[in-house]
Symmetry: C2
DNA sequence: CCAATTTACCAAAGCGCTTTGAAAATTGCA
DNA sequence: TGCAATTTTCAAAGCGCTTTGGTAAATTGG
């Protein structure tokens, strides 16, 4: 069923039917009712491609999912983020175009998305330090919003980010307050912007307290369960092991937990663990007393915010950039406790 | 830059430029070269919407991601599946349209996707027992492929599925061979088709060996880490605890592992665990001796197969249905060992 | 060398919609 | 009742592409 057929059926012109359907005022209310009803009855929905061609708006948002064919990693926060963004798109009549591209052809993929006129706007995932995509998208003149930020780029662009530095400074301070001095950091890949900021927060906390930084306790890797496990296993078996771990995501933290219990130690007593919790749906870390002490910031919520910001940007081209900082909430769970040394000292005092 | 501008620039007609670009024979090779070059130089790519309008093909595959607003779950295998499918789409010039919809309006969403002419084909995720979407999509006459199958529907439709029944029968037999008799099953939601098949495999193995089935050891729930943890915690604390667990995914199994070590037990010795491993990228369970004994079947690979099947179907409308069964590989890891009773018996024999 | 092909290109129609500009129908008011 | 103002409807153009049905130019064969 297309517009012509529907309007022939109703004995009206395509113009009138179109206007009736799209809520224009210059059509009698009784006519509109009839049209609406007929459309519903015949399951008519305007052809997307024709409509977007005529209006010049694609009503589509592009997401590029870079997937390395080498290590086959696909970011686990992606699904939750998309779910959040997708809710907003549905509510606003936008489609979501997902482009899965090989790591090294990401830029070409953005270019093509725009020159094909396939999307009205783009969301940038996982910005790196000094990310070249920002300059590219500005050059292409397409509206975009970054989930995260990119250090060293001072151009004005729209972003929604968690205050990573502050979050990691807080959890590190929290561990320091508990008497921990050797604190390992399991961070994301070094070129990722969020990892840089988290590292900075961690260092700021240590330095503010005059605690010596040990580079041998700082790790940058793909945030797999195995990374957490192997790193913690080695550290715990070595001389002078850390008494606490800061993990960039719940996934490596699960590996850390495994290594701790394999070593016959108890998490929250012998070794403390704090995490950044993205509130992934299959790894809920909530309740009165969550498994992990965490700075939490829902990535699904971030998806909603980013999507809304982009839609606003598309609706109002001239508007100023949208820059939004989300604060992470620090929640204490069962994975942290006083450093063993401090506990002993306090017991002796008694 | 659009076709008209490009052809004016070249002093050629739109027809010729279009044909040159699309590889038709009736254009001189030297002209084609010139056109190609100019297109590249000016970063011309044909407008997707105009092109698809003219050809009548959307060159887009639809995926519907149902997201319950209640429990906010988004299937963690989704991202990996999409990554696999997306690779195939990219290679074949298809776009991926992702529709995030609320649980209860999923059907309406398929309807609209088709009547809007937004997609050439649809992939069905997470089929339930007697899934109504199959009848719906047949009625709509749109090509589709199901990732999984739907019991009780005998209509011919295309699917790619893992042999879930066989896989779970095998792991259950494996545990029985090790002397386990009380084996808990942590399955997915009861209305999911895969859960039904897995349950059937588990039961078939027990029955074949004449082992009494204890319904109190079978659980159907959303496959979260917490489900695994809580279930195992309670079972291990109760009278007559199971000596082995079969988990439908690595995620609840991680919870089971946590409960085991919290109870002061050792996985692989006191309690055995086997899993279905979807080979999620952030939870690699491979290497010489993986953490978990598992039946493995890469969901990313499944994504590739499903996507390819759908593309073929679109290209050849008359072709017979595609039904493909993937077998899962049983790999022995560190999470399984002889049942304590059997071990004792064998030690006495010596 | 000229008719018959073949080659290389082009004008225009059409995909299904929105939107402009105009016409027809209705209403208001003297 | 008559005419201007207003409301309602319509025909046709246009969005950027593909494709049909040509035509002129180049090539071939006898």
């Amino acid at each position: 069923m297309n517009l012509k057929e529907l309007s022939d059926l109703l004995g009206l012109s395509q113009t009138t039917v179109s206007r009736a359907l799209n809520g224009y005022p210059e059509v009698r209310e009784s006519t509109r009712q009839k049209v609406m009803e007929a459309a519903r009855a015949h399951n008519y929905a305007p052809n997307t491609r024709a409509k977007t061609l005529a209006t010049g708006k694609a009503m589509t948002i592009g997401h590029v999912l870079p997937v390395s064919k080498k290590h086959e990693m696909v970011n686990p926060i992606f699904a939750d983020f998309i779910a959040g963004a997708g809710e907003i798109y549905s509510d606003n009549g936008f489609d979501l175009l997902l482009s899965v591209v090989d790591d090294d052809s990401e830029e070409a993929s953005y270019r093509k998305l725009v020159s094909r006129g396939a999307v009205d706007g783009i969301i940038v995932h996982g910005p790196k330090v000094n990310d070249s995509r920002i300059a590219l998208l500005r050059e292409l003149g397409v509206p975009f919003v970054v989930h995260g930020r990119s250090t060293e780029i001072d151009a004005d662009y729209s972003w929604v980010d968690v205050n990573n530095t502050r979050a990691f400074q807080r959890v590190t301070e929290f561990l320091l307050d508990l008497g921990h001095r050797r604190i390992a950091l399991l961070n994301g890949l070094a070129d990722m912007d969020f990892a840089t900021r988290r590292g900075a927060g961690y260092l700021a906390a240590l330095e503010a307290r005059g605690v010596q930084v040990d580079p041998a306790l700082m790790f940058h890797e793909e945030m797999t369960e195995n990374f957490g496990f192997e790193t913690a296993r080695k550290l715990l078996a070595a001389d002078n092991p850390p008494t606490a771990f800061v993990a960039s995501s719940i996934i490596p933290a699960i590996g850390v937990r495994r290594a701790i219990s394999d070593a016959g130690l108890e998490m929250g007593k012998d070794v403390s663990v704090v995490i950044h919790d993205d509130a992934l749906s299959y790894f809920s870390n909530d309740g009165d007393e969550p498994a992990f002490t965490a700075v939490r910031s829902s990535v699904r919520q971030a998806g909603r915010h980013v999507a809304q910001a982009l839609i606003n940007k598309i609706a109002t081209p001239g508007a100023p950039v949208h820059q939004e900082m989300l604060e992470a909430v620090l929640t204490v769970g069962r994975s942290t406790g006083q450093a063993p040394a401090l506990r002993q000292a306090m017991e002796q005092e008694k």
